[in-house]
Amino acid sequence: MAIAVRRAQLQEVALNEDEYRAIVRAIGRDPNDLELGMFGALWSEHCSYKTAKALLRQLPTEGPDVLQGPGENAGAVDIGNGLAVVFKIESHNHPSAIEPYQGAATGVGGILRDVFAMGARPVAILDALRFGPLDGIVAHDRLRRATADRAGDIVLLVGADTGRDGIHGATFASVEMDERSAERRPAVQVGNPFLEKLLCEACLRLNELDGVTAIQDLGAAGLTSAASELAHRGHRGIDIDVDRISRREQGMTPYEAMLSESQERMLILVRPEAEAAARQVFDHFELHADRIGVVTGTGRIRIRDHGVSVADIPLKALVDGVPLRTPVASFPDRQPTVVMPAVEEPEAILLDLIASPNLRSRRPIYRTYDHQVQDNTVFGPGFDAALLRVPGTNKGLALTTDGNPWYVALDPYEGTKAAVAEAARNIVCTGARPIAVTNCLNFGNPERPAIFGQLQESIRGLADACRALDLPVVSGNVSLYNETSERNIPPTPVIGMVGLLEDLSLRCPSGFQEDGDLVFLLGETREELAGSAYLRLLGAPAEGRPPMVSLEMERRLQAAMLDSIGRGVVRCAHDVSDGGLLIALAESALYGGRGLRCPGIVGPISREAFFFGESQGRVIVSVAPRRVPELQQLMTSHHIPLYAIGVIGGEDFQVGSDIRLSLDSLRQAWETPF
């Protein structure tokens, strides 16, 4: 069949003509419509990472504690006591741009299924308002990998009936959007949390059965992707009888059934002798399960409709065969350093900054969802990192996400390094040791050289920072083509990080704890203002070099912090990041409900940079007066500069003669409603 004839079809599945030729070479003939749809889905950017794959190879993915790196439903890391933490991060940008409520809801649903597919009970969700990473905890011997390992195993499709929703969702995530995107609204799925909950409980119970060999979420590209990946990971094949799939409406074609992205569906593989036991579990939860196929030894995915073959494709070509794209990258010229006027009214600036949308209290948002259920939340939302108890132990898991799109826009390499460094610092401030990373790379259209250049530099920064801090990347997500009518989103890598605190009694809060304690700044402040919240507040153009990250310094600072917290020397610790030093001090004062008195600040750098600059590698701590010598000694031994800031106490937040604000007025600004 001539390519010209199928041009419209190729556009529909978002494949180019070279890719079509590769399909023909791989299967030795023209694909039929269903086969072309299946290739379109699995060779989409969303499923295949054809643009990002080569770059992602730079990332460190191994470590002594890594039980499962990238390539599964989610990554898993050892946390001792025979337990593992399972976690990953996802974006759901394209659906959410069109249907925010359903897009966000199904984003959460998808990632939940990824975690309980691993056999882990989900214990927490984080959100960076754009993203939803998630953690779960599972016993090692119950950690499940989704692989079809034996021919003859039975394929069960469990959960919701299959509808026409979400067809070509994966493809949709691989093209830029325009005004006509709303026409793709049917490509956005609808979530059903109640069914998801039943499915979660059923899968966790299934996980305890012998003879259940794989549990796989149906996500992007629906059954096509789930069945192909399961079978291909185990070097097996799979036969699907598409007519056996329960459907929501009549008249659905095999094409629609294979590519539907209806939510709340799982694919379960069981040994034939275990099917009855598995069905008992489904019956208990009143879930419907269709026996839709069988694992084979053919290395092919074969689809039959009422006994007639409708697709027959080698899995290697479908899952791994996509030709990688190597777009052209371009890099902007280095930008000049910004020159700023001296700050006239630091008090007014501080109030404006702490009331600005990116720095004010998030309480109006996080109080609209449950952050306590499961009885393990030690530090909830609103601090550097959340801290959860590991059920049944005295250990804690610290969780955070970070990313500063303004730094990345100015310098993708340094900006991404900063995101990793800040996430690790947030974890360390709770007393926990960072153990693993997940990442979510959100960029514009990579076919534009400047955008591909950003992606390339960002991943290089991620790789360097993770290697320097000894952090394996165990899972991740890439979302490209975030472009609407030729406008691209700011490059937004988001880093999710998990840390382990061996003894919860050693946890360190972020708020000031005792009047009379002394506050110190650890780390070095440089003359860095570009990319800061302060400059944005003043309306300065986005230019200059963002704060540079010395990974060596960062490593030393974090070791020094863990040492100090582990010895009980510091009573509170808070990362200095967006908004700079004064914002960090004000936040610790507000968290703890205690004032602060600082004498005037004199130093080798400008007052603006000291108050509002965002130099990396810095933390504020509070210390009881009698333990100050220990802190000084520890910082000397780790080669970390130490700078005395002030004394905790009183009703005011006072810095030299520049600032004198009552805590109430500071709080009022901080609690500005959204």
Binding site: F194, E286, Y366, R367, T368, V373, Q374
Partner: protein, 233 residues
């Protein structure tokens, strides 16, 4: 005290209640499936929080028809101790074991946060250990907790001393600012006329350990243990 924790499809806080009773208080507890019809082995039945049956139709409206609810009603009518927490409170109202209704929060938003509760009476099975006026710090987590009753019912509840908890300021004053959801009279929890059935919106099972921020929720469970001791004597 043998506790049964009822699990409906969509129940979420069952494990938290089991944790508070078994791990923190060392009391035997078991899960009760929504299809069970016998509760003879139990001293206390808890209907925990969650979104039973997806909160479809109206919170608690479908759970009320689950087979187990007939058994819970018999159990309550025979004087058994029943505690409904959050969605459990909604179910007890739907099942007519407690008066009034719980409407959508006045803010029209879900609220998860710490609140202060003033104990209004120490006669109910779940407040025996408290003194009237005592303030408990316990979190809420709900979208439909706005207590409502028609004027006659409300008057009767107040007159009979069936109001068990009111939202209040940290110093115990009942104020408009301390009311998180618009409840009439700041009502957070009520009892039936006999005091053996109590429903409340806040989650006492989340306030049983210092590590999690408060131990004030233990008072309710300890009161139940003492209530049973009294009966036994």
């Amino acid at each position: 005290m043998n506790t049964g924790i009822v699990v409906f499809p969509g129940t979420w806080s069952d494990r938290d209640c089991a944790h508070a009773l078994s791990d923190v208080l060392g009391q035997p507890a078991r899960y009760v499936d929504h299809r069970e019809e016998r509760l003879d082995d139990l001293d206390l039945v808890i209907l925990p929080g969650g979104f039973s049956y997806g909160d479809y139709l109206r919170c608690g409206a479908i759970a009320r028809f689950a087979p187990v609810m007939e058994a819970v009603t018999d159990f309550a009518n025979r004087g058994g101790l029943v505690l409904g927490i959050c969605n459990g409170f909604q179910i007890l109202q739907e099942a007519r074991l407690l008066p009034g209704a719980l409407l959508r929060n006045a803010s029209c938003e879900f609220r998860c946060e710490w609140v202060n509760l003033r104990v209004e009476q120490s006669e109910s099975a779940f407040t025996l250990d408290c003194r009237p006026g005592q303030v408990l710090r316990i979190p809420i987590s709900h979208g439909e907790g706005n207590f409502f009753a028609d004027p006659q019912t409300l008057e009767a509840i107040e007159r009979n001393g069936q109001v068990v908890f009111r939202y209040c300021a940290p110093d115990g004053r009942v104020t408009a600012e301390s009311n998180p959801n618009g409840s009439l009279g700041n009502i957070a929890g009520i009892a039936n006329a006999h005091g053996n059935v109590v429903g409340l919106m806040p989650h006492p099972e989340r306030a049983c350990e210092d590590l999690l921020g408060s131990t004030d929720g233990l008072a309710l469970f300890r009161s139940a243990i003492h209530a049973l001791d009294r009966v036994a004597v």
